[in-house]
C-alpha cells in the first residue's frame, strides 16, 4: 500500500494553478487544489479538478503514431522524430524555411515555450511563431 500526495501545476491553461495529485498504489486517484499556492489559493476550475481523468483516460496516446498508407501505426519515439525531421528537411529544402510555422501553447511551461521559439528561429530558420490562443 502506497499513498503519495504529489504537488504539481495544472497543465490545462496558462493560469498555472497549483494542484495536488493523490496517488494511491501508483495510480493518480484524484486531484486537489494546492491551498497555499499563490496563483489559485486553493481553488480550481472544472478542468483542474479533473486532471487525473485525462492522465488515466484509455484514449490517451502513450506512444507516437505514424500515418502509413492511411492508417495510424504505433511506433517508437526515435523513429517518429527521425521521420518528422526528414520530412521537415525536405519541405524546407523545397519551399524554404518560411513554409514552416511553430505554434506554442499555454499548456507548456515558459521554458518549453522558450525552447519552441528557439527551435523555430535557430533550427528551422523562421520567425513564424504563434500561440494557440490566437487560433
Amino acid at each position: 500500500m502506497q499513498c503519495k500526495i504529489v504537488p504539481s501545476v495544472c497543465s490545462y491553461c496558462g493560469t498555472g494553478c497549483g494542484i495536488l495529485f493523490e496517488v494511491i498504489d501508483g495510480k493518480i486517484n484524484s486531484t486537489l487544489p494546492l491551498k497555499t499556492h499563490p496563483v489559485n489559493e486553493g481553488k480550481l476550475c472544472i478542468k483542474g479538478w479533473n486532471l487525473h481523468e485525462h492522465v488515466n483516460s484509455f484514449m490517451r496516446l502513450k506512444k507516437p503514431l505514424v500515418k502509413t498508407s492511411g492508417r495510424f501505426i504505433t511506433t517508437e519515439w526515435d523513429e517518429a522524430i527521425g521521420l518528422t525531421a526528414d520530412r521537415f528537411s525536405e519541405i524546407i529544402q523545397k519551399y524554404g524555411p518560411d513554409s514552416v510555422g511553430v505554434l506554442v501553447s499555454a499548456k507548456l511551461t515558459n521554458e518549453e515555450n522558450y525552447l519552441a521559439q528557439k527551435f523555430a528561429r535557430a533550427v528551422i530558420g523562421t520567425n513564424n511563431v504563434d500561440h494557440c490562443a490566437r487560433l
Partner: protein
C-alpha cells in the same frame, strides 16, 4: 505526537498515518509509513487544512482492511463521525490524534460553528464572503432582499464542482449534481437555484460545517451559510447535531431501526 505515531506504526496499530509535512515550502498532506519511519521527524500539524478523512476514504476504497491513523482537528473528527455513520469508513480501522483547530493556541479562534468563534481563524485568509456569517445575521433582511442576494450569489457559479469535490462528506458514486434530469447539462451558470439547492438538501444531517467548500469556491458563494441554515432546521426538527457523535443519523435509512423521528412537536420552533 511524533512518538505516539511512531509507536503506532511500529506495533502495527496502524499501517499508515496521514499528517502534514513541508514539501517545497508548502504544508502538504503526507502519508507516513513504517518503511520510512525517519520521515516522522518532519510531521507537522500544518497550517493549511485538507480533508485527511477524504484521503482515508479513497485509500480504504482501494484497500478495505488497511488501518489508518490521522491528525484530526475538530472538523476532521466530526467528518469522521459522519463517515462512520454512512459506512464509508470503519471506526475500528481509524485512529486519531486530536489536535487544535485551524492551528491556533486558543480554540476560540477556531473557525466552525461548534466553537462559536468571534473572529475568523488566524490562518484563514478572508476573501470575499465572511466565513463566519450565521443565518441570524442575514435574516435581519427581508425575504425578497435575501432571495435577490442568493440568486446573485448563485449566478456567479462556474460549475467547477469544487464544493462537492472537496467536501469530506460528499462520497456518492453517482452525484445528483451531474444528473441531467435535475440539473440541465451544458449551461453556465448551472441551473439556479436548483444546482445549489440540491446540494444544500443533501447536506442536511451531513454537513459538518468545516467550511472547505466555501474555501474552494472560486467565486465566493457563501455556501457554508446556506448549509448552516439547512442544519439549523435539522437541529430544530430532529434535535440532531451533525457530526457531534457517531450515533445513527435521523437521515440514515440503513440499519435495523427507522430513525427519522422528529423532535416532539411543541419544541419545534415555527420560525419560518
Amino acid at each position: 505526537m511524533n512518538t505516539k505515531v511512531k509507536h503506532w506504526l511500529e506495533d502495527e496499530t496502524i499501517d499508515i498515518f496521514l499528517g502534514y509535512k513541508i514539501v517545497d515550502g508548502h504544508p502538504l498532506p503526507h502519508c507516513f509509513t513504517k518503511e520510512r519511519i525517519e520521515e516522522l521527524e518532519d510531521l507537522i500539524v500544518g497550517q493549511a487544512r485538507y480533508s485527511l478523512e477524504k484521503i482515508a476514504t479513497h485509500i480504504t476504497t482501494v484497500n478495505p482492511d488497511i488501518k489508518i491513523g490521522m491528525l484530526a482537528r475538530d472538523c476532521n473528527q466530526r467528518a469522521l463521525n459522519v463517515l462512520f455513520i454512512w459506512n464509508q469508513l470503519n471506526p475500528e480501522n481509524i485512529e486519531t490524534i486530536n489536535i487544535n483547530c485551524c492551528p491556533s493556541n486558543l480554540k476560540e479562534h477556531g473557525d466552525c460553528s461548534y466553537l462559536e468563534p468571534e473572529t475568523a481563524g488566524v490562518y484563514k485568509k478572508q476573501v470575499g464572503v465572511d466565513n463566519n456569517l450565521q443565518p441570524e445575521d442575514v435574516e435581519k433582511h427581508d425575504q425578497p432582499q435575501r432571495l435577490t442576494r442568493w440568486m446573485y450569489e448563485f449566478q456567479k457559479c462556474i460549475k467547477c464542482y469544487g464544493c462537492r469535490n472537496i467536501c469530506p462528506v460528499c462520497f456518492c458514486t453517482e452525484c445528483s449534481l451531474e444528473h441531467k434530469e435535475l440539473v440541465d447539462p451544458g449551461t453556465l451558470p448551472p441551473e439556479i437555484p436548483i444546482f445549489h439547492l440540491v446540494r444544500a438538501v443533501h447536506m442536511a444531517g451531513r454537513c459538518i460545517d468545516c467550511g472547505l467548500c466555501e474555501d474552494a469556491c472560486p467565486v465566493d458563494i457563501p455556501l457554508r451559510l446556506l448549509y448552516r441554515k439547512v442544519n439549523e432546521i435539522v437541529v430544530n426538527v430532529f434535535d440532531y447535531q451533525t457530526g457531534a457523535s457517531a450515533q445513527q443519523s435521523p437521515f440514515n435509512i440503513l440499519g435495523d431501526t427507522v430513525t427519522l423521528e422528529p423532535k416532539p412537536l411543541e419544541s419545534v420552533e415555527t420560525q419560518n
